[in-house]
């Protein structure tokens, strides 16, 4: 080549070709092998990630799916005025205070007439949930005419019986090793034979607030709390973040001050969330005197946490709108405000919304900052507004995971499934928004 003469194919073949020389071939093989390895690393990384996710999902679903079913026992209950202690069905006070648990006990005695002795009776009553009385109370309050009548009802079983039927307590284990006695198992088997015990869809799980009895516990309180908290977060963080992003992108001069602000926003996005909780405690609760455990305070704290995420996403969305749009608008005589509100903002909105949804998803899964402001609490009543005490879904999961009762294990996993469902929904919405509305230039 140094003499400027081209090498013909024939000459190449004669010299054994470039590709043919042993050194080149070795180098080539090495390069190709490296290429393959490089690709394999990536593939292995993805496979690992996917298998971890699969393992997590499998573990949660395997543990949690049974929680959507709850064991119920069919009993023939009599609304006996004598047992209930109600003289007049019009007296609502008496209706609400009446001895409904006594009614359940009477029904149990009727189903198993030959049980005697205090201990045995106690064990017998223990097979039905302590919440069974509340079911009867609700029916009675809704329809006082039931007084004196008899009806067949499916009432929730105790959590230990539920665990027994779901196989989480083994029947063949020695009696001392399980929380269900041999006698209780015999009763359950008798009920099984007569078809008076069955598993049915666990509606309580979706309609009730928290409870210390697993069979009465539900996620409605926590989801409502999460809803109010996220509502406050959204109302506050979205306008603030968009306004901040617009100012920084469209109006702010490029100088050292804006640089400092930018660095700080990025920094805030990386601050551990517990710090925001401490700040919330000091400022919102101790200084402004807002109530503890309220979704309003939770929302304020989570606003601080999600603001940087949304600002960064919104700025990126604004940046991706090409300058030609702005120049064209200004050239047609639009004011800067018109240029932004009529042209730039609509084009950047899908990106901003995507960022907002991702920020909200992040806020939905947060527990640490809520610990400080008292939202990690046992709250039975479903909150009716952002000022009432409430807890949120991830906190509910945390509290159940820490409960001694065996039946809370599956409920914990079931609550995780619900939370994951919400997260997948939100993230999918973000992807759809991006696909459908985002324009590429």
């Amino acid at each position: 080549m140094t003499d400027g003469k081209l090498i013909t194919g024939a000459e190449l073949a004669a010299s054994g070709s470039w590709h043919g020389s042993p050194q080149t071939q070795r180098r080539l093989r090495k390069r190709q092998a490296a290429e393959k390895r490089f690709r394999a690393y990536g593939l292995v990384a993805i496979l690992m990630g996917v298998s971890f996710v699969a393992l997590l999902f499998f573990d949660i679903v395997a543990k949690g799916w049974t929680a959507f079913m709850q064991t119920h026992i069919q009993l023939e209950v009599t609304y006996d005025p004598e047992v209930l202690g109600i003289a007049d069905s019009g007296d609502t006070q008496a209706l609400s205070r009446a001895n409904y648990t006594g009614m359940v006990k009477a029904a149990m005695r009727k189903t198993f007439p030959n049980v005697s002795g205090r201990r045995a009776k106690r064990a017998l009553y223990g097979t039905v949930s302590s919440g069974a009385g509340f079911v009867l109370r609700e029916r009675m309050m809704a329809n006082p005419d039931l007084l004196g009548s008899t009806e067949k009802l499916w009432l929730p079983a105790d959590d230990d019986i539920d665990m027994l039927l779901k196989g989480h307590i083994r029947r063949d284990a020695p009696e001392s090793d399980r929380r269900v006695s041999d006698q209780q198992i015999a009763w359950v088997e008798q009920l099984e034979q007569s078809g008076q015990i069955r598993k049915q869809f666990n509606t309580t799980f979706f309609t009730a607030g928290d409870s210390r009895e697993p069979e009465l516990a539900g996620i409605r309180g926590a989801t409502t709390g999460s809803f109010y908290t996220l509502l406050v977060t959204l109302i506050l963080s979205f306008p603030l973040a968009v306004a901040a992003a617009i100012y920084l992108e469209e109006f702010a001069p490029k100088n050292r001050w804006t640089d400092i602000i930018e660095v700080n926003i990025n920094n805030l996005a990386a601050v551990p969330s517990i710090v925001f909780g401490l700040l919330g405690l000091a400022v919102f609760i101790n200084f402004f005197g807002l109530p503890r455990s309220a979704p309003l305070v939770g929302g304020l704290v989570l606003t601080l946490m999600t603001l940087p995420t949304i600002i960064i996403a919104s700025r990126a969305a604004l940046k991706s709108v090409p300058p030609s749009i702005r120049e064209a608008a200004l050239g047609m005589g639009a004011s800067k405000t018109q240029m932004i509100t009529h042209h730039v903002l609509p084009l950047a909105m899908p990106g901003m919304l995507t960022g907002t949804i991702i920020g909200m998803a992040q806020a939905l899964g947060e527990t640490a900052p809520l610990l400080m402001i008292g939202m990690v609490a046992f709250i039975v009543d479903v909150p009716g507004g952002p000022l009432e005490p409430a807890t949120v879904l991830p906190v509910q999961i945390f509290l159940w995971a820490d409960s001694p009762e065996r039946a809370f294990v599956e409920r914990t996993s079931a609550a995780i499934m619900v939370l994951l469902g919400f997260l997948i929904l939100m993230n999918a919405l973000a992807v759809v928004l991006r696909r459908r509305f985002e324009r590429r230039w």
Binding site: S211, R212, G289, L290, P291, F378, D381, P389, P404, R406
Partner: protein
């Protein structure tokens, strides 16, 4: 046109908040120990369902954290009741008094046993508190004899006591923030530590040194801090039959098919043994009520009545189903009388 309206609405919402916050609270606010939490929540739920009052809100903050919040002052933004897995300290009473919380009602609710348990796959262990001290303290008396303390040399249970199995010392227990840990250290380790005459003598001559010796857990990996979650400890014990775990009796009670409690000082951790006061590692549980709030926050008196009823804290009450060890009859009577008379807390001169 619409935007100023939204701004005005937002401003209005923000301005109206403080007035709402200052309005009366219609539910009881309870904070405190995570050990008492499972019992207090059951009572709260019963109370909420059977009375016209709202269900109290209960935060699990730990005994120390709860008392700190409790003592911050009088007024609806402060909690009404705090749960504690130990008695209130003099310093805390002083702090309360400084913030205007001078009238406190003390209620003991029952006892809790702390168990040292292992997996059912392994043998049930029999140990003494002295064994526990030797196995878990940071500094122990020199095994060669003499009255000097050395860095804990024991690696296996057999070295501590020849009757124990030849397995590595590995104990999973709660972290220092936990009241269970405080009680375990005080009752088990100090109990074992006192068995050495020269250390016991230190209590008089060098109280601080005595506490350091008896209350410091080794940090070389034999004691593993397993977090506040006792369920996790139970799961880890199942996976590792050689490890021991330290947790509250209610978790043993709920998992009798998976774990077994070790016999300590010849007493097995059973319900009856703890109730009779035979089992050495058991502690009383309390709650404290701010008397100034009774009458201002609705339902406190009724809540106390529910807690102190026989169907709750009695020997057959629903709290025993959750693992609470009831007080003897006389003690229950005394605290019930205290509640009725709203007797003020008096700390004995200790």
């Amino acid at each position: 046109m619409r935007k100023p309206l939204i701004a005005a609405a937002l401003a209005g919402a923000v301005l109206s908040v403080p007035t709402v916050a200052q309005a009366a609270r219609d539910y009881i606010s309870i904070v405190g120990s995570s050990t008492v939490y499972p019992f207090a929540t059951v009572v709260a739920e019963q109370f909420g369902k059977t009375t016209r009052f709202k269900t109290p809100k209960i935060e699990s903050t730990g005994s120390g954290g709860g008392l700190k919040l409790f003592c911050q002052g009088v007024g609806i933004k402060h909690p009404d009741i705090t749960n504690a897995s130990r008695r209130i300290k003099k310093s805390e009473v002083d702090k309360c008094a400084k913030n205007g919380v001078t009238e406190i009602l003390e209620v003991k609710i029952g006892y809790d046993g702390i168990v040292v348990a292992n997996s059912k796959k392994g043998p049930q262990l029999k140990m003494t508190r002295k064994d526990l001290f030797l196995a878990l303290a940071k500094e122990v008396p020199d095994p060669k004899g003499g009255e000097q303390l050395v860095e804990n040399p024991y690696k296996r249970w057999k070295q501590v006591n020849a009757s124990l199995p030849d397995v590595k010392i590995e104990v999973l227990g709660p972290p220092p923030t936990s009241g269970t840990r405080d009680a375990f250290v005080e009752l088990a380790l100090e109990g074992g530590c006192k068995k050495f005459g020269f250390i016991k003598a230190m209590k008089k001559s060098d109280k601080k040194g005595y506490k350091t010796v008896c209350h410091t857990i080794r940090e070389d990996g034999a004691y593993v801090e397993a977090g506040e979650n006792d369920n996790l400890i139970v799961q880890k014990l199942e996976a590792n039959p050689n490890a021991l775990g330290v947790f509250g009796f209610s978790f043993l009670d709920q998992n009798t098919d998976k774990v077994q409690g070790s016999v300590v000082d010849n007493v097995a951790p059973t319900f009856d043994n703890i109730a009779d006061g035979l089992y050495p590692i058991s502690r009383p549980l309390y709650f404290y009520v701010k008397k100034a709030h009774i009458g201002n926050v609705p339902g406190i008196k009724e809540f106390l009545a529910e807690f102190a009823s026989e169907k709750a804290w009695g020997p057959d009450g629903y709290l025993t189903d959750k693992g609470l060890i009831p007080m003897p009859d006389a003690e229950r009577k005394k605290f019930l009388a205290d509640i009725k008379k709203l007797t003020n807390l008096k700390l004995a001169s200790n």
